[in-house]
Symmetry: C2
Subunit: 334 residues, 2 copies
Amino acid sequence: MRVTIKDVSRIAGVSIKTVSRVLNKEKYVSDETRRKVEEAVAALNFSPSLAARTLAGSRSFQIALIYDNHSPYYIHAVQEGVWNRCREEGVRMLAQPVDVDSPTLALEIGGLIDETHVDGVILSSPVTDAPAALAELERRGIRFVRISPGTNHALTSSVFMDDVQAADDMTTHLINQGHKRIGFVIGHPNHMASDQRHFGYRRALDRAGIAYEPELVRPGTFDFESGMAAAEALLKLAQKPSAIFASNDDMAAGVLSYAHRVGLDVPQDLSVAGFDDTPLAQLVWPPLTTVRQPVLELAYAATDQLFCPDPAIVHQRLQHEVMVRGSTAPLRKS
Amino acid sequence: MRVTIKDVSRIAGVSIKTVSRVLNKEKYVSDETRRKVEEAVAALNFSPSLAARTLAGSRSFQIALIYDNHSPYYIHAVQEGVWNRCREEGVRMLAQPVDVDSPTLALEIGGLIDETHVDGVILSSPVTDAPAALAELERRGIRFVRISPGTNHALTSSVFMDDVQAADDMTTHLINQGHKRIGFVIGHPNHMASDQRHFGYRRALDRAGIAYEPELVRPGTFDFESGMAAAEALLKLAQKPSAIFASNDDMAAGVLSYAHRVGLDVPQDLSVAGFDDTPLAQLVWPPLTTVRQPVLELAYAATDQLFCPDPAIVHQRLQHEVMVRGSTAPLRKS
DNA sequence: GTCCAATAAGACACCGTTGTCATACCGGGG
DNA sequence: CCCCGGTATGACAACGGTGTCTTATTGGAC
């Protein structure tokens, strides 16, 4: 049978309520009593029922992580970061995949909250920018923190990196290497970050006095195939780019793959840059020059904000970093 | 405030218990009453509290997925497969990462079960073979199903693929292409599958009358770096292999990378094969010949077994497939 | 010595469901 | 006409904790 607080209280020789106090680290418990209770808990290997605590109390000791992101690396890192912080807090994490385009998104999220009574929610991009989701959470007055939202939302906390600056930095890096015709592959249209990276690319060109040429910019969907297709289009131009900057690593891998296929040497004939610094960046040849996005740290920080709301810091920015590896090189004089 | 069964019962004009009956699809409810209740549920957008159901009833409508696998692609696929089946069943999935080598593994799992009252557990490799975990689950009499266990365990269900045969098939494929000196990179020692793939490699060689040479076999840990290190060792041998078969795709990517680094052309100078058919296999150049492991299907089938235990089929095998891509080619005459 | 605030601990109702038992109605066999 | 099993529904006590209120005991300020 299940071990309950009642059993613990009997062993410790105190009331049920006192055991509850110890469990919840409340004040007004003598050291002596606390010790006895803790011993009894350890002896019986007691873990309190979350269901009962949830029902009786005002907390559920659970938070939900809601995501719809098709990059396994990204999700994996987010889950790990959130989980790391939850574990410290003794709180369970419910990982909840959703379809951000589903017409029933709000209903699903509402149902999740009603069923589980979660104490808070972490939203991962692109769910961070689904109006239906945000409205539903606000309607219910649930605390939530967003990881890398694309839009600002005055009322709620978020944790993010500066995508514009990061794309600007990478573009500037390529410019500094002498590249002037730099191709760009845009990300998936439903991620706000796609716009921002695109804008950063443009801003860097502008500052360097290089004209923005639409033919050098191709749409993509954050996946390998779209990267390959974009590379094909770019490299068939009359005036080929000497470098291609893709908005994420998967697409950069696609660019790399197409370059190999048509016999181009990377980085001698073509420099390739990615974005995200997923493990993939170091699994391809040559290893990708890319922007490190501190996903794990973002997720951890977001969860921390959920647990320890600091009214002063509502929007927290974490630093990115340009990782220079083998896929980019100075432009050869020709 | 929260919408409760009481509200529903009032609107529908029936007792609380009758609403409960409809929710649980019990018999002995008239069509008329059922309709009224369903309408009230829809009107109020009611979702029952899992905490209350868990506490009062004998089910928690939750299962746990316990894993410790550092391959994001693998975990992602497992989560998706389990979740797909859970969603059909109206059951929540608790994704629980653990450290399979932790001395407190059993305690953690026990605590998870006590706290959440999960109705069942899915174990993913390598937790499938952690004696402490299995003992704890059995001690508590919790139903569980294992995905790709390395050991047979008469008492419990499992779902798996034939790793031995798969490695045998891949090795045979290489032999059929004319390769005789085939390098092999073993997987992580704490995964039983590593042994099995190794054995399959050996069995295929044996059947083809090719001697097993220990110098052609290198240890690895399922990660990129160990694949690269193994490739270096193998390609520095006096008599180099003409093909290398790595026990997973990450290590195969490492082999590929090392080959590129030293200027070898794959597959002309060296054939490379992987295992798992993770998305990575198609993101590298050239795309990897590998064994498709039906991870999503395995996870779905495992969850299905948990929900619909079929006493007849306790150990269910799913089919693998050799995916021939660009990284292998017939041996050149030299 | 008295009074009060801070400390310490218990009694008891209650959280929102399900399990069990009781009750009432219906149609058919004896 | 009575009895019975099957059907349909409700009353009420659990489930295992927490919130609130009450009570008893301190130890210092006056």
